[in-house]
């Protein structure tokens, strides 16, 4: 949460309005919930995608749509770290450094990325292509260290892997998300559990048979 964050006044800023497609999409979202306001966060996400950031003009437009005050919208915007009042890079790189990721090298991964991208955490590169942010738990701790680039997750990220991803993005090539399964030697959690399950049930069966026989 951003305590004490200030309303991003920007005098002279251009008006914001949803494109007809986004306005229609918002209408569909609003119709799903008993209270229209439940569509506010999806609306903010749509607006952020369209305008690049949740500017004061965005908040005023949404306030008018939802029939609430711009400060009320700002209250919501300032609460959620995924909502940005200033544009982030075309590729927004979020590095988790909560405990599970920190234990497996999130700190050095973050420093590596800062150097590779020439961009400090919390900043956007001058060419607008990349921005880096240190974030709290992404909920992918089994694939630590993990990062999120725009909507995609990348797990078990090594510095070499990070370089490959960045190189591809710099060339404008598409990059597929990498789950923990693909990234590293198979996490044989599932396999191991299955094996021991089979052993266990075999043991139980033979015990039961012995009992029955005895």
């Amino acid at each position: 949460m951003a305590l004490g964050a200030r309303f991003p006044h920007s005098p002279g800023e251009e008006r914001f309005e949803f494109t007809p497609e986004n306005r229609a999409e918002l209408g569909r979202i609003m119709a799903k919930y008993p209270a229209r306001r439940s569509a506010l966060i999806p609306a903010l996400q749509l607006a952020q995608k369209q305008a690049g950031a949740v500017t004061s003009a965005v908040m005023q437009h949404l306030a008018a749509i939802f029939g609430i005050s711009p400060m009320d919208v700002w209250g919501v915007v300032s609460f959620y770290s995924m909502l940005k009042t200033r544009p982030v890079g075309k590729h927004h790189v979020m590095v988790c450094d909560n405990l599970s990721c920190a234990l497996l090298g999130a700190g050095s991964l973050l420093r590596h990325l800062e150097q590779r991208l020439g961009c400090r955490a919390g900043h956007t590169r001058a060419d607008g292509k990349f921005s880096v942010e240190r974030v709290e738990c992404l909920g992918a701790c089994g694939g630590a260290p993990c990062l999120q680039i725009n909507e995609d997750y990348f797990e078990r990220v090594t510095p070499a892997m990070a370089d490959e991803i960045v190189a591809a993005l710099e060339k404008g090539e598409p990059v597929a998300p990498v789950g923990a399964d693909e990234a590293a030697p198979p996490r044989d959690g599932a396999g191991a559990a299955q094996e021991s399950a089979a052993q266990e049930s075999a043991a139980q069966e033979s015990a039961a048979q012995e009992k029955a026989a005895g």
Binding site: F79, E136, G143
Partner: protein
Amino acid sequence: MAIRFEKIVTGRFGNPEASTLAGYEAAGGYQAIRKILGKAEPKNVIELVKASGLRGRGGAGFPCGLKWSFVPQSLNPKYLAVNGDEGEPGTFKDRELMIRDPHQLIEGIVVACYAVGIAKAYVYIRGEFDAPWRAVERALGEAYAKGYLGENILGSGFGCDVYAHRGEGKRGHPRLKPPFPAVVGLYGKPTVINNVETLSNLPHIVNNGAEWFAGIGIDEKNTGTRMYCVSGHAARPGLYELPLGLTCEELIYEHAGGMRNGKALKAVIPGGASAPVLTAQEVREGKVRMDFDSLAKAGSMGGSGGVIVMDETACMVQAAGRLARFFEHESCGQCSVCREGTGWVSEIINRVEAGRGRADDLATLASIDPNMRGNTICVLSDACAMMFGAFLKKFHREFEAHVEQGRCPLGSPYPA
């Protein structure tokens, strides 16, 4: 005591088709609602779930059937809020359940709605979760098209609607309880709140019976399996669905491959960031079991199933500092005790870690702890206190050494 090994909610994880409607049906899906809708009395479904012993997999471990029975039958509308936030560091199971087996969740939701008499369910998925959102939205579309959702499901006369949801469009501010959500919840209406994993168990309980479910696990109060989310220094971090009641050592050494690089275990956080840390000695000598009641008896909790494993190279002050920063970030700011407390705790612990600890810092931390418990609207403050209180008590010597030496004796192994 021999514990039966059986995978329940992750049983179809190896089958990539299971995330589609056709794949789910082919693997035995949507049989549970065929069995009960319009055939079983809703109150008997509640009794079935009570008899199964199913407890909430989100954090508190509250008995699911009992929670359902608190909702006043006469008040309408009532809602089911499905908690897919997965906000507790160390936890990564609900995301997988939503992506890999979304129809299992949807079928579980229909079972819950039928039992409690709910016509609308909202699956809360946090804003950062794009893939789970898309998976659930796609599955909902498929389920509607096939008549598993909407009006008159399978000709039973019962209908319910399910929506993916990003919240009420407000700041995330907890409300004072009572009234409890069972009476005044989502949109001010009576609401059942169940975790994704809890609901995903329901089709299996309906299909196989309460007795079957209760037969898995260690005793009648700790039944079924949990998705243990192993992270940190285990050799094979990942998801392990195992019966309640296996020991922490079995989980780490027999399932998660032991410790990385053969290092010695130092500490385990057994149930997500809020669960008090256990020392290696407690784990070993106490033979701590990973079910709800055994962990409570050991002074910790099963929480959300997030098991963070730390080896001898880990610095406990640094670990506590990292988690304290999380609590500070997540504090909503309504209660001064939490808003200020989490900030102070984070500042002090991270100062000690950085070698700038003051002589009275540890005493200050110890004095903050009781004030942060039981004095706030929600339990985030309590959770923070449980977290750092346990680190401070169990690794006090390590904290002292930081202050005495003016540096991290372990060399801050994981600098930010």
